[in-house]
Symmetry: D2
Subunit: 392 residues, 4 copies
């Protein structure tokens, strides 16, 4: 039986554009995908850049006109990896053209924009995805499964973190990441910590309901790239105290000036019967403590990723060999395609992406007012459905 063709358009070919391309390429080999993929067209700023990237990344055609791409009848899915500020315009155009849209995080600089995008997609009936690929790690699935199965007992506390140092140098110039509208460490990487927190805690402790934020600008001015300096308004460190629906509490930090850290995306979850600890620095490992271990034999045990942690086994039949960062993107791609084929709900759609923006903005607002804030309750229906589906 031949598979239906799915034609992919990609906007952008930087860090994330390449990662998307790698993801499609790997996914089509590793998974038994429901579609035959066709890397149809790649759009970038100039014709030359687009042509070169298309050639390197295996796309059949290229263009410097992203609008042409989103309106191209020969394209089914639009991948958006352009700078954040363009996400909304591109996504709305693609949705209007009836395309499915797979957009890099953050979905949009502002929650209001993200909501408009989510609403548009749902109104149009297209399927969407936001790229939170750390959530595609089999060890995170294991962690959540253990929480859901009650292996940790009742969940009481959470500690989340995403710290790197790519903005630690005060002389690194102003970029889009510092854009007053939607930039900052909390939005850029703290968002991962928030996504992970709700991914893990959600099924057991419910969503985050209240936050107390503390967002600080440490490097007050940065070179503007034109010989002058520019004032920075966004946070270099964004911290928040958290309340979950069931009363569990926690904290989270996004920090892009953490000298020496490259991927300190960590969490710890504490329950009445056990605990989990994880760091993305060694993301093929999950550390698990169980109070049911024998007396004098208790301790955090280092579980290594292996074939029993699906879909690891599709990448490698032997345990301990380790997935890489790009493999997580391939898993993300595969899950989205399953959703496009109607085999499952969307794993992390625009509504879920909006949720993260809402959390970020509520923390920002809390920080500005120096007071606890309720998190608006956008019901992330699709994500819940996806979880039900996974469990079934």
């Amino acid at each position: 039986m031949t598979k239906r063709k799915l034609r992919i358009g990609l906007i952008g070919s930087g860090f994330m554009g390449r990662t998307h391309a790698f993801g499609y390429s790997t996914a089509s080999r590793v998974f038994d995908l429901p579609f035959q993929l066709e890397l149809a067209c790649l759009a970038d700023i100039t014709d030359e850049a687009a042509a070169k990237a298309a050639d390197a990344l295996g796309f059949a055609r290229s263009t410097s006109d992203w609008r042409a791409l989103v309106n191209d009848p020969e394209i089914d899915v639009v991948n958006i990896t352009a700078p954040n500020a363009f996400h909304k315009e591109m996504a709305l155009a693609a949705i209007a053209a009836g395309k499915h849209v797979y957009c890099e995080k953050p979905l949009a600089p502002l929650a209001a924009d993200a909501r408009e995008m989510a609403d548009a997609a749902e109104a149009k009936g297209v399927k969407t995805q936001v790229g939170f690929n750390y959530l595609c790690n089999p060890m995170l699935a294991l962690a959540r499964d253990m929480i859901v199965a009650g292996e940790l007992g009742e969940i009481r506390g959470y500690r989340g973190l995403h710290a790197e140092d790519y903005m630690a140098d005060a002389m690194s110039p102003f970029t889009f990441r510092l854009d007053p509208a939607g930039g900052g460490a909390l939005a850029d990487i703290g968002s991962h910590a928030l996504a992970t927190a709700e991914f893990l805690m959600g099924p057991a402790a419910g969503p985050i309901t209240q936050v107390m934020g503390d967002c600080v600008t440490v490097i007050k001015t940065r070179p503007d790239g034109k010989g002058g300096t520019r004032a920075v308004q966004v946070d270099d460190i964004g911290r928040a105290l958290l309340r979950f629906e069931n009363g569990a509490t926690g904290s989270v930090e996004g920090n892009w000036i953490a000298t020496g850290r490259t991927m300190q995306h960590d969490f710890e979850v504490y329950g009445t019967k056990g605990a989990l600890a994880f760091t993305q620095q060694r993301f093929n490992e999950l550390h698990f403590f169980s109070t049911s271990d024998a007396r004098g034999r208790k301790g955090f045990r280092r579980i290594e990723a292996g074939p029993e942690h699906a879909p690891y086994g599709l990448f490698c039949v032997a345990p301990g060999h380790q997935l890489g960062f790009n493999d997580l993107k391939a898993i993300e791609v595969a899950r989205y395609l399953e959703a496009l084929a109607g085999h499952q709900p969307e794993p992390f759609n625009f509504r879920a992406g909006l949720r993260i923006q809402t959390l970020v903005e509520t923390i920002h607002a809390s920080s500005r007012s120096a007071a606890w804030r309720e998190v608006p309750t956008d019901k992330v229906q699709h994500q819940e459905e996806y979880r039900q589906h996974e469990k079934a």
Copy 2:
């Protein structure tokens, strides 16, 4: 030249009482102390308990009357390791009797009491110490020296934690640690995290000036030990967002229901040129990142305690052999005796102990009011003098 005799009285012989006794015993062998120590008298609840403990711990005499001990003219220093609720009464009596007083932490359940104690000691001119022995770790001295020497550059961020699980079991009965006046995880072990934060950050970033607390009671009732239950009012988890004088920010957590954790007293310090990471779980190690390492060769390096980190070399001439928990107490004892001999200021006197209580209470107050609070500025003069002395 014979040394002057110093006669020690100890009140209490539980966990901390034994640790004090071990500390004196070890200090007198390891260090060239300025005194000839005489373990003169030990007081405990009953004559029998006191006699037995005195025999085991090497004290010449024993008594069930702590007032007799503090008024005993044959005693120079009174060590208080009785339950927290008695600290004030005992310390004031000892001070009134002109004794030097070495009191376990917390100095008193309430800051007002601690202040009264500090004032009394200063008025009387006796020398005092509060037991924050984690601060006596040579690796913490190294950390602070590196910060002071500028090896981390300008200090920007701090993350502190003290998590254990000794109260994680909801069926563990009500104890003095749960006393509404002064109990709770923040006071009991979060205080260590606060002491470490100011110990390290103080010389470079100044004291903590503002806090936003979040103190939560997770286990609402505990067995009262008489077949019934009793409501718990104190925090099982105490978190705080922090501001230091120089504008650096941070966070701290005290948590005694962190399932699986025994000694997660950790910190990370981030500066413009380097970073430090530490866990008391492996307290003979300090992890140091330096931006000045060569390209492609940078990384956190694991420094193991050795003779170059005084006073490690007095315990063992070879590196990597490791100090134990009780050794930290011996260092604490030795430092206090040097202060008693007038060779240096008091390393951590009642005024410093008050400071910790002030921080704890301000965090509690902040949590109750759900708002940031200024930390009252008790000037901890002696501690600053001690630091100057060490540097000289």
Copy 3:
């Protein structure tokens, strides 16, 4: 400029067959390869298996006749991932047909066979590669670069290990890995430890010149898969003491019954000025000790893989994100293709593969005779050339 087409034939579609396919797929996206790749034909045991695998792995055609594949004029490179016992026959046939051959390790069960294969390839002038993909890890390149650059000073000692537990269960049945001709833990995974040892030590300490082996069969019989048992003749643990040309000494162990271990492929190298430590369990990290660090600041530092460790940056522009096992294969593929294009010598050709077999057999012979043995000096010319090339 359009690239020359390179047509790939793959024999086998099991663990390693898939890994090869993934490698080609990823390499063509990540690297700017000198060829346009065409996955031309896949051969497997049956027509059905071959067709299914070809479809899944992206090969245009399929066959159950590997001889047809190796003689297919539309194929330039033959990849051999069939069971070890077939390597020789297949490779010789492919060489005879003038194909370049990329064969999984071990090159052949017996060194004599491997030599025949290497001789044939050189006589015919085709280019070959043996799959030792752990050597393609950027952190191993870093380690060797540091050794070559003298950052460790004069090299004195080496400790190598490859331990897993996939044969630890005495009830796991007899397989080709247990074949008396060429099977065993030393050949299967100890060979990785040997390859790594010479890869790292070679440029500084020269090749291994003498070995003292100790190969033991721990599980004496295994189920034969037909209800009976079969005696095992090969080693479950193979250890060897080593001498390198410059007088440096070391040890190595291959162990497939190391309960709990999945990828304990570790090494430590000690020099006069520094040391390195590594484990494949965390293969994106290299631990480096330098005696030139400041007093009281020395320690093993954890270097995380990043863009400064080529070709990491082609996979991901940000450090700490981590490569996966399959990415190492993509690097291996890319290097081979560069050799095929004449841009560099073969990185690890049949002559190098023979070298590993020679080491394994010499250790086996040493173990049987319970005496030290000289390692025959097959000059691995191409490998040396490759190293010179890399340095240039």
Copy 4:
């Protein structure tokens, strides 16, 4: 009831002399010892040195005449911490005087001497001990208990190591450790690795029966301290392949030129049902893998030392606080005193110390002859009895 007095004499006040003094001091506080200890007399090279050390370490008297000390009727136990070359003469004199003798390791440079000492002690009926204090670690007791209890199943393999770098500098001068009679890395620290191997494996796999040694001198000459150089004859690295009585195999390495290593005294034990891993660098932890953990939840778990691992609880009632190097010596002292009181057999007497020397010499002989050697079967009766006692 008053305890009998036990009068201690100590010869030597260097690294190990101090450690012994610390051990007695701490043991008398931590344990309920069967004796009242009296630190009676300390002997050192000169009167001044002896007097100063006696004062510092709490000994009542001092002397520069060790013969006076061993013949002093006011002394019951003689502790020998003088350089290795004097052990025999001193121990025989003390035994002749009817003293119990507690001698630092190695018992004597040569096994023949050690045998003479063991024979003399047994003939005289005095009780002896050799200082292998790493064996007193509660985590090693736990490891052995787990092995004995079958928690690892049948024991198959062992890997032991003791590597440091205190002799890595070729310019460090000639010392007694380099004495051709009995010196070298294998004797100095490899002996610890051998002692640990038999301590753990003995009860389950029996003693080491065969060895294949490889002892190499890396630094051929050292400064003689008088402006010239002196040839080194002893090993800088001593490795051995091992056979245990039950057929289990293993390896061991002693290495004092392992740049960067301070206390890499490690072991791994592999059984059919589980495995253990340990490093003295973090000696309050034991890593345990069990095949009986649930599918997808298996992993090495980090067990932290705590009160359930006797006698940890006597030092500290809370887990995770960690013992130090000197605490291990206190445990060693306490065990010896229990043996002196007749409460248990000697834990590690001269016969056991001889055993280690026999192993070292057999490995040396094996290395010289480049052939496997049988280890002479000195029956270490007392040690076996001690183990039986512990189990009972």
